[in-house]
């Protein structure tokens, strides 16, 4: 008998012969051409003196000279690396604490949380550039709304602008990041809390645990994979931070907020020192790759557990 088959043709033939993985090819091709290729090219460039600014530096092989320079002769790189670490640890820990607390608040005390949650998410969905501008406006030294009220309350010296002060600028920028990304932490934790089974909590209550014991002995251990995930995702993202800080301060004043991404941008696209810039960019990549490998484990850890 001959039944007509549905969805024949080349596609069907290929899939039916068990070569489905072929459908990965376009995706892989794209990544190889646009990502791996250029990346390898960049690694190549990192061994040259390529520069668009200096005459005669048109890509001569210099061996590990750029790497040596990074390690030995570039305190600015290491300073920006340090600034970045302060930024990352600062924002991630504050966002983690606030976000978790807020998630617990929503979970236990708010019934109609969908609408509230959507409003909370607005900061993180806005273009980071817009976030930067928004806060630049709020924090403007002369007519910034927040500046004005802080001065009214006596919390800020009339001569000082938060974004112009060498000591205050980094904490300020970090607070803007906290404002932007705390909702993300809340969102993920809330989803995590909602996905937890009810029974262990009831069992603990029946076993006689008080609320704080339930939190310590049940909630936190069950959320541990999510905690790891949030820390790593936020850590990686904070490490890559560019847009918002670039708009807010451009890395300044001086180099007070020059995060590693901004420094790499300056070397490449202001100084046009591409050989050396390639090394900087490569270093950023390396750190993220390490964090990424760890987070991948964390994600798999999550999937293999009760939390799905």
């Amino acid at each position: 008998m001959n039944f007509p088959r549905v969805g024949n043709g080349i596609l069907g033939g290929v899939l039916d012969r068990g070569v489905g993985p072929l459908f990965l090819v376009p995706a892989l091709l794209m990544l190889v051409v646009l990502l791996v290729g250029p990346f390898l090219y960049m690694v190549g460039v990192s061994f040259t003196d390529l520069s668009f600014a200096l005459p005669g530096h048109d890509g001569n092989f210099v061996g590990f000279e750029n790497y040596r320079r990074l390690m030995r002769e570039d305190p600015v790189f290491w300073q920006s690396f340090g600034t970045t670490l302060v930024f990352v640890f600062g924002v991630v820990s504050v966002e983690f604490g606030l976000g978790f607390a807020l998630a617990l608040l929503l979970f236990y005390h708010v019934q109609r949380r969908r609408f509230v949650l959507t409003l909370l998410l607005i900061p993180m969905m806005l273009a980071p550039v817009a976030v930067g501008l928004m806060w630049k406006l709020m924090l403007h030294g002369e007519f910034g709304m927040l500046t004005h009220y802080l001065r009214e309350l006596g919390l800020l010296d009339p001569q000082t602008a938060l974004l112009g002060n060498h000591d205050l600028v980094l904490p300020t920028v970090m607070l803007v990041d906290v404002w932007e990304w705390t909702p993300f932490v809340t969102l993920v934790f809330l989803a995590g809390l909602l996905s937890l089974p009810r029974e262990p909590f009831e069992a603990a209550v029946m076993d006689g645990a008080r609320p704080w014991q339930v939190f310590r002995d049940i909630t936190v251990p069950l959320l541990r994979p999510i905690i790891a995930l949030v820390l790593l995702l936020r850590g990686i993202d904070a490490f890559k931070e560019f847009d918002k800080v670039f708009i807010l301060t451009g890395g300044g004043p001086g180099t007070a907020t020059e995060l590693i991404s901004i420094y790499a941008w300056r070397v490449n696209f202001r100084n046009w020192d591409l050989g050396y810039g390639a090394v900087c960019a490569f270093m950023v990549y390396l750190v993220v790759l390490i964090l990424c490998a760890v987070s991948y484990k964390a994600i798999y850890w999550t999937e293999g557990r009760a939390v799905k």
Partner: protein, 272 residues
């Protein structure tokens, strides 16, 4: 729950919402303020709105084409990432082959890659092939980082469809391709819509790639806004107007995809 606790919770929540939303509200108000109101020493909350900034910046200053660029870049990026990413996600969800998980990890790393490290080689590469300052270059750049998002999210959505559906479809006489196109894709459609919206948002909001890869005609909105900020006096009304246009559609989209946001932003590790 006892009353005082409820009140405290409610008060905290209101405070958090006020802090979250005030800056955006302020931006919105500024976009309708006259220069005088915007630069007043004491913040002005009540004012007679002016509508001059929007036509001024979009028509007279030529920001309208940037909106077009942003739309084209985000739209084409979304279509391209889905076209390439969805079949790949299906393969990851339903086929087993050696090295699958490692390949998957590779996809993850491309998403995590810091833009600054990727944009440098891309800049050199697009310069080499003569695509600098074209929308194509931005589209390709955005598609590479969105691709893994699509693969990660869609793999999850496909995996949510029980395998029995596949088997039933095959027993009903579908080929695997027929099954994919006529059974699985429709079932995954809501997830795909959410993925598409998220792709669009990320491309629309993206700044660094666009900043480096395009300079003039192909500038997107995000790259265009900082151009209004100058050391000698920024026209904040106009900046706010552009920023509003650049963000309001996204806020609307956020309401649409909220349910799937968690999965998209955690690489499928947490379901919303």
């Amino acid at each position: 729950m006892r009353k005082p606790w409820r009140m405290a919770a409610l008060a905290t929540l209101v405070a958090v919402l006020v802090i979250s939303l005030t800056p955006y509200l302020w931006l919105f108000m500024t976009s309708f303020k006259t220069r005088l109101d915007a630069l007043a020493d004491a913040p002005v909350w009540l004012f007679t709105p002016t509508f001059e900034h929007y036509p001024m910046v979009f028509l007279d200053k030529g920001y309208l084409p940037m909106v077009g660029n942003s739309l084209i870049v985000a739209g084409v990026t979304t279509a391209l990432s889905l076209a390439i990413g969805v079949p790949a996600a299906y393969v990851f969800a339903r086929h087993d082959f050696a090295g699958k998980e490692d390949l998957f990890f590779f996809f993850l790393t491309t998403r995590m890659a810091p833009p600054i490290s990727v944009v440098v080689p891309m800049f050199l590469f697009f310069g080499y092939v003569g695509l600098i300052d074209t929308r194509t270059s931005v589209i390709l750049a955005h598609s590479t980082f969105n691709l893994s998002l699509v693969v990660w999210m869609m793999r999850g959505f496909f995996a949510d469809i029980p395998r029995e559906i596949d088997e039933a479809a095959q027993m009903d006489g579908h080929t695997r391709a027929g099954m994919f196109l006529r059974v699985l894709l429709p079932l995954a459609a809501p997830g795909m819509a959410a993925t598409a919206v998220l792709c669009f948002i990320l491309s629309w909001n993206e700044f660094l790639y666009a900043l480096i890869l395009v300079a003039f005609e192909s500038r997107t909105l995000t790259v265009g806004i900082p151009g209004l900020v100058t050391p000698h006096g920024t026209l904040w009304g106009q900046v706010a107007a552009v920023a509003m246009v650049a963000t309001l559609p996204i806020v609307v989209f956020t309401f649409l995809v909220q349910r799937h946001l968690v999965r998209g932003l955690t690489f499928g590790a947490v379901k919303g």
